[in-house]
């Protein structure tokens, strides 16, 4: 039997893949969105920033920021799950020194957001669940929260067209 790979090697490969995926999208960088990884589970983290405010009187996060945050979390989570096997097998190379060509991201067809309470001026978190992922289409649900995981401030469902394997 093959010996399991050393833990650092596995972690390094997964983190390099995630970082390449996320840093390749300028809009994710603009929002300041990062991803926390535990095994294959991703949590989107949106640190609060003044530029994300939509209602200065309350103040509250911009509804568009909430939508963008949930959508970006859905797209990255979907790509991540779609690429997972190739990341694990090493078939995809994410070594920044070799300037790898990144795989295409899924395309959003529609995205529907429920605003459950106003987004407070503090950090927000989101996790996506892939309800169905076929060869061509995927349906993803995303939940967003701030202080309490059980008190969602927004949730969304979206449909996506998957990139075609070359």
């Amino acid at each position: 039997m093959k010996r399991p790979e050393p833990v650092q090697v596995v972690k390094q490969r997964r983190d390099a893949a995630l970082s390449a995926l996320v840093s390749g999208v300028p809009y994710i960088q603009y929002l300041g969105l990062t991803f926390d990884r535990r095994g294959d589970e991703l949590t989107g983290v949106l640190p609060f920033d003044e530029k994300l405010i939509g209602n200065p009187l309350l103040p509250a996060l911009h509804g568009g920021v909430t939508a963008a945050f949930l959508e970006a979390t859905a797209v990255i989570t979907l790509s991540w799950s779609y690429l997972w096997e190739d990341i694990e097998s090493g078939a995809l190379d994410f070594d920044p020194s070799t300037a790898p060509k990144l795989p295409r991201l899924p395309k959003t067809v529609d995205f529907s957001v429920d605003y459950l309470r106003s987004g407070l001026p503090r950090d927000a978190y989101a996790r996506a669940r892939i309800n169905r992922s076929g060869r061509r289409y995927a349906s993803v649900h995303v939940e967003g929260w701030q202080d309490n995981r059980d008190r969602l401030f927004a949730q969304a469902t979206g449909h996506f067209v998957m990139p075609q394997r070359r």
Partner: protein, 142 residues
């Protein structure tokens, strides 16, 4: 027609939104339940680095602002508003380098809810980039 003082305040409110300012949104029309807002092309908003196409998230922010402005400009809504639900359909990729213009119409208002639809276009105005439908809160009616 809406009350000009109320409209002026609503316009100032929309123009002061930090996130909308940061994205360079410009309000060109706002009256009687209709709002038009333009967002210039910006490298920071790219969602697909290979093609330079603007991210769906940035289009969402534009749609949400414009729908909110349409609700605030409606004569039967006296105060601010908040998004209850917003659905966006992405029909095609926006052409890189072109500004995106959204027109939102608040087509029905009840005592508590305002219903809105919006269309976003780039230079090819016959061929929308995205459409949105949403429900917003209504303030000030007793």
């Amino acid at each position: 027609m809406s009350d000009p003082d109320k409209l002026k305040l609503a316009r100032q409110f929309i123009e002061a939104i930090p996130h909308s300012r940061d994205l360079g949104m410009e309000l060109t029309e706002m009256d009687d339940g209709v709002a038009v807002i333009t967002m210039p092309y910006d490298d920071r908003l790219i969602g697909d680095p290979e093609t330079g196409v603007i991210s769906g998230g940035a289009v969402s922010a534009l749609m949400d602002t414009c729908c909110g402005a349409a609700v605030m400009s409606h004569p039967e809504n006296l105060g601010g508003t908040a998004t209850l639900d917003l659905r966006i359909d992405y029909m095609r990729a926006a052409t890189p380098g072109q500004a995106i213009t959204t027109r939102a119409t608040c087509y029905h208002v009840t005592r508590s809810v305002a219903f809105v639809r919006a269309t976003a276009c780039d230079d090819d105005s016959d061929n929308p980039v995205a459409t949105a439908t949403g429900a917003f809160t209504v303030e000030g009616k007793r």
